[in-house]
Symmetry: C2
Subunit: 183 residues, 2 copies
Amino acid sequence: MAQKNKLQFIILGLLNQHPLTGYDLTKAFDNEIGEFWQAQHSQIYPQLKRLEDQGYITHEVTISGAKLEKKLYHITATGAQLLHTWISDGTPDLTATKDEFILKLYFIRTSRDPRLVPMLHEQRRLHTDKLTHLQARLKTVFPTKASQAENYGHYLILQHAIGREAYYVNWLQQTLIAIPKAR
Amino acid sequence: MAQKNKLQFIILGLLNQHPLTGYDLTKAFDNEIGEFWQAQHSQIYPQLKRLEDQGYITHEVTISGAKLEKKLYHITATGAQLLHTWISDGTPDLTATKDEFILKLYFIRTSRDPRLVPMLHEQRRLHTDKLTHLQARLKTVFPTKASQAENYGHYLILQHAIGREAYYVNWLQQTLIAIPKAR
DNA sequence: TTCATCATGTAACACGTTACATGATTCG
DNA sequence: CGAATCATGTAACGTGTTACATGATGAA
């Protein structure tokens, strides 16, 4: 196999909560899931077909209005089993974060490079914005202790993402301070 | 375009430091660069051909031993210009980190899920190992102030990676502590 | 002389993005 | 009745991984 096809597990994980259509799944990737994983409908529809061929999901056709057909997908027992196995299995591969800014930084040889400070400023702005956005999301999605306990994993990863961005912003800040001033 | 072809810029960036063969480039991805970017020789050789067709690099053939041909690639002026432009241009896209563990965590619904604690322990071990490895690298690659100043960008990103892993380990630790004990 | 490494390439396949394509429903 | 959204699909292309394929060199 080339990679690992994580998409199939995300779909199974979402269907394990509620039956959904391909369209609903696409929306999920635009919204909550989109914070940490992306997928387009052109990837989702074929994957649904494959999962169904393999017996991990089934669908029923419902009619909306006069004749618009919706395919509502359900997870099967074997699908739920596969999902459980995936989560239970070890996750030993720490994906290298392919951060384009970090890559560019690698090629900056000296602290006197005139491109350095503007680059750091841009990233500080972008990561500060992201941090603010994530903090707002935490407040709206998990306003109460009860809501946090109800979707504990989601709560944890939002917290984690906030901490990560806070670290990033702080590192940029410290790096900017540490750069020797041009004489 | 589908993505952005960052590989071409990495190759240009490396050739901007020294002329290298495809084999040397492959080694670079196994070693220093491998910490934050991967590429196999099957991707590198065709990319070298494309960059040469576009006039960004040239090569000279050298003979090693009796008849082994090595293609030593050099960056051209237009190649150096392209590299400079890429670095100078903004980097507004913050890549979502596709961390499989985080993804699995999303599907853990409650703090009582028996899979949760073992998962966190495994990740703590993995990220602690990575942190240790990175700290060792910092010491061997940048032992002196002078060495840090000489390859400032590389030094910064190693520092950054260490801080990131330290945050990750700390977060895992705090999360483990916060999980309510089973009664 | 054999094994690890040097050295370069292609093929097949998996994954991911953008674009193409079509049609129904709902709300103003 | 027009526009936004709902709803489902395919095609083309780019990127990335694994596997296939070949041969030379250097050191034990």
